[in-house]
C-alpha cells in the first residue's frame, strides 16, 4: 500500500501545485520521484511530529494542501493535540497518513502497533477517517482526501498486501463498497482485513451460507444508509478490523446500532483486545493472538449461526435498554 501511496501522491503533486508532502523521516527512497517532480514541496520533518502537524496547519492556512506521512502511532497519538487544535479546530485541509497501521509492524513491538488510532481520531470534530483495503483503495482514498475541504486521516498498511480490486474503484466519502452480495450474514471489513473477510465468506460458503462482504474505506462518516439496510436484511453483522474492538470501526457501528429504534441484526465485532502484545512475532502471529484469522472468525460465526433461529426477528428495544444488555 505504501508504494501505491508514494506513486499516487507523486502523480497528484505533479498536477496540483498546492500539494506539499511532509514526512517524518521514513520511507527510504520511497519518495525519490516526488523529490524530483516537486523538490520545493517535499520536507523531511525529522523525528518531530508535533512540529510537522503544526506546520501542515500553517501551510494549509496559506492555501496549500499538506499531507503528513509517517508510522501510524507517531503521526496520530504522538501529536494528537496538534491534530485536534491546529488541524481540526481550524478546519484545515490537512491529510494525515499513517503507514503500517494496525498490526502491520507487529514485530517492532507495541510501540509501533496502532490499534487505537481510529478511536482517537474519529472522535475529533471535522475529521474524516479513511481506511483503504488495498493499493487500489489507497489511490482512490488519496484522491478523495485531497478533494475534501477539511481534515482527513487515512491509515494504510505496509507493502505486499493482496490487491483485491482489479482497478481503482470509484468511491465517495461515507459510502462502502459491497464486494459480494449475500444474505443472512454480512461481513463488514475495515482496511487491510478485507482479504480475510473474503476468505471467511468462502469458508462459510462451504458450510452452506452465503455471506455478504463489504469494504468500508470510510470509517467516518459511516455509511448509515447501507448499515440500516444490511442490519434489516441480515441476522448477524460482523465487523473485522486490525484495531481494538473498543472505539474503532466495530465500536462506531455499535454506537450507531445503539441509537436505532429497531436495530435488527446482532452485531459481532472482531478486532484486537484490550491489551498490549508483549511477545515477539510477525503480523500473522499477532493476528492469530487476537483471533483475527480466517479459521477463528469463521468458527466463531458458525457458532453464532448455528445457535440462532432461522428467521430471527429481534423484538424492538429502546436504545438504552439495548446498550445495557450488551454491557
Amino acid at each position: 500500500m505504501r508504494n501505491a501511496f508514494a506513486q499516487e501522491i507523486t502523480a497528484l503533486a505533479e498536477a496540483d501545485p498546492r500539494l506539499v508532502l511532509l514526512m517524518g523521516d521514513i520511507g527510504n527512497r520511497l519518495f525519490d520521484r516526488f523529490k524530483v517532480v516537486a523538490s520545493n514541496r517535499f520536507f523531511n520533518c525529522g523525528v518531530a511530529e508535533q512540529n510537522m502537524i503544526g506546520m501542515a496547519a500553517g501551510l494549509a492556512s496559506c492555501g496549500f494542501r499538506p499531507i503528513c506521512y509517517t508510522i501510524t502511532p507517531f503521526v496520530t497519538t504522538r501529536c494528537l493535540e496538534q491534530i485536534r487544535v491546529d488541524v481540526c479546530y481550524h478546519r484545515m485541509p490537512v491529510t494525515i497518513v499513517g503507514t503500517g497501521a494496525g498490526l502491520s509492524y507487529a514485530s517492532l513491538g507495541a510501540t509501533h502497533h496502532s490499534c487505537e488510532d481510529l478511536a482517537m481520531l474519529r472522535v475529533l470534530p471535522e475529521m474524516t477517517v479513511l481506511a483503504p483495503a488495498d493499493s487500489m483503495e489507497v489511490r482512490a482514498c488519496l484522491r478523495l482526501a485531497l478533494r475534501q475541504g477539511g481534515p482527513v486521516y487515512m491509515r494504510i498498511g505496509k507493502k505486499g498486501e493482496p490487491v483485491i480490486h482489479a482497478e481503482v474503484p470509484e468511491i465517495e466519502v461515507g459510502k462502502c463498497i459491497v464486494m459480494r452480495p449475500g444474505e443472512r450474514i454480512a461481513l463488514l471489513s475495515a482496511g487491510n482485513m478485507l482479504p480475510t473477510a473474503l476468505a471467511v465468506a468462502e469458508s462459510l460458503g462451504s458450510s452452506g451460507f452465503r455471506p455478504e462482504v463489504a469494504s468500508f474505506p470510510t470509517i467516518k462518516p459511516l455509511d448509515t444508509s447501507y448499515l440500516s439496510d444490511v442490519f434489516r436484511r441480515c441476522s448477524i453483522v460482523a465487523t473485522i478490523e486490525e484495531h481494538s474492538v473498543l472505539g474503532g470501526f466495530g465500536g462506531s457501528i455499535a454506537e450507531w446500532r445503539c441509537d436505532q429504534t429497531n436495530p435488527g441484526a446482532r452485531l459481532v465485532r472482531f478486532g484486537t483486545g484490550d491489551e498490549f502484545l508483549h511477545v515477539a512475532g510477525e503480523q500473522e502471529f499477532a493476528r492469530s493472538h487476537f483471533g483475527l484469522t480466517t479459521g477463528i472468525i469463521a468458527q466463531e460465526l458458525l457458532r453464532h449461526l448455528e445457535g440462532e433461529r432461522p428467521a430471527l426477528k429481534p423484538e424492538p428495544v429502546s436504545a438504552l435498554a439495548h446498550f445495557s444488555e450488551q454491557g
Binding site: 512540529n51 503544526g54 506546520m55 500553517g58 501551510l59 492556512s61 496549500f64
Partner: protein, 277 residues
C-alpha cells in the same frame, strides 16, 4: 499595505500603551477574567509590532500578502483584542463585550473569532510550528510576508517549541520572528525555578537563530530589535524582558494577577497611575 517602517512617534506609542493597558484592565474587571498580569506584560511588544512593523491593512484582514502575527500565549488575548480594536480591525465598542456569551471575543480566541486574530491559541507551544508553516508557505510561493510569533517564557518549556526551533534554520532564511515575553513568571511560580530556561537567548542562538535581548517595555529598543529581525537572513528571536502586571504598581511582578481580576476601585487606581483621566 501600510508600512510604518519605524517612523513612529515614541510619545504616541507610549500614550497608546497606556490606553491599551487601561482597556485591558477594564475588560478584566467587567468580564471577571484572569491572566491580567501576562496581558499587561505583552502590551508594549504588541504596540511596537502593530504600529511599527507589521505590513497589514485592517480593511483587508485576509490579504494573502499580509504579515501575520500569532499570539501563541493565548491566555493574554485581551491584550491582542485591545490592540486590534485600536489598530482598526473592529470597533473599540466590541471590547465592552469581551467574554460575553454569543459574542465574538472569547476569553481565549477561537479560529477567526474576530478580524485580525490569525490563530486560535490557548494551548501553549502551538504558535511557533503553525507560524513556521506560514513562513514556509511564503517561501514556497515566493511571497515576502513575514510571520511574528509572540510566546510566553513558560511556553518555552513545551517540546514542540524546540522541534520548530530546530527545523526553521534548515529550511528558512528570514521572515520568521519569535518574540518571547519574558516576564519570569508562569502560573504557579518563577519560570526559571520550575524549569531552567536560562540562558534563553543563547538557546535560540544554539539552535541556529539570530537573537537579541531587549527591555520589553522600551518601545525604542523594541522597535530597533524588530528592525534588526526584519533585516535578518535567519529566523530571529527577540527575548523581551518584561514585568508581569507592568504599568500598575500594585500589579507589577505580583503573580496573584495571573488569577484575579480588579475591583472597581482598583480600576480607578490603575487609571490614575496610567495617566488616564
Amino acid at each position: 499595505m501600510i508600512n510604518h517602517d519605524f517612523r513612529v512617534d515614541l510619545g504616541q506609542l507610549d500614550r497608546l500603551s497606556r490606553k491599551l493597558r487601561y482597556n485591558i484592565i477594564k475588560m478584566s474587571h467587567r468580564a471577571e477574567t484572569a491572566h491580567l498580569g501576562g496581558a499587561l506584560s505583552v502590551v508594549d511588544i504588541l504596540v511596537a509590532v502593530y504600529w511599527g512593523c507589521l505590513r497589514i491593512d485592517p480593511a483587508k484582514p485576509q490579504d494573502q500578502d499580509r504579515d501575520r502575527l500569532i499570539l501563541s500565549k493565548g491566555h493574554a488575548v485581551s491584550a491582542l483584542y485591545a490592540t486590534l480594536a485600536e489598530r482598526g480591525f473592529f470597533p473599540c465598542a466590541e471590547l465592552e463585550h469581551y467574554n460575553e456569551e454569543r459574542r465574538h471575543l472569547p476569553e481565549q480566541p477561537s479560529p477567526g473569532c474576530i478580524p485580525g486574530v490569525e490563530w486560535a491559541t490557548g494551548s501553549l507551544g502551538h504558535g511557533l510550528p503553525v507560524g513556521l508553516g506560514m513562513a514556509l508557505a511564503a517561501k514556497i510561493s515566493g511571497k515576502s510576508y513575514r510571520v511574528f510569533v509572540v510566546m510566553s517564557d513558560g511556553e518555552c518549556q513545551e517540546g514542540s517549541v524546540w522541534e520548530a526551533a530546530m527545523f526553521a534554520p534548515q529550511h528558512l532564511g528570514g521572515g520568521l520572528v519569535v518574540i518571547v515575553d519574558y516576564n519570569r513568571w508562569q502560573a504557579t511560580g518563577r519560570s526559571n525555578q520550575i524549569m531552567g530556561l536560562s540562558p534563553l537567548a543563547a538557546k535560540w542562538t544554539a539552535f541556529g537563530w539570530d537573537s537579541v535581548e531587549v527591555d520589553g517595555h522600551n518601545l525604542q529598543a523594541l522597535s530597533e530589535a524588530l528592525a534588526q529581525a526584519c533585516r535578518s537572513s535567519k529566523p530571529f528571536a527577540i527575548i523581551a524582558h518584561t514585568i508581569k502586571g507592568r504599568g500598575v504598581s500594585f500589579m507589577e511582578d505580583d503573580n496573584n494577577w495571573h488569577y484575579r481580576s480588579p475591583s472597581a476601585d482598583e480600576v480607578r487606581a490603575a487609571a490614575s497611575e496610567l495617566g488616564i483621566s
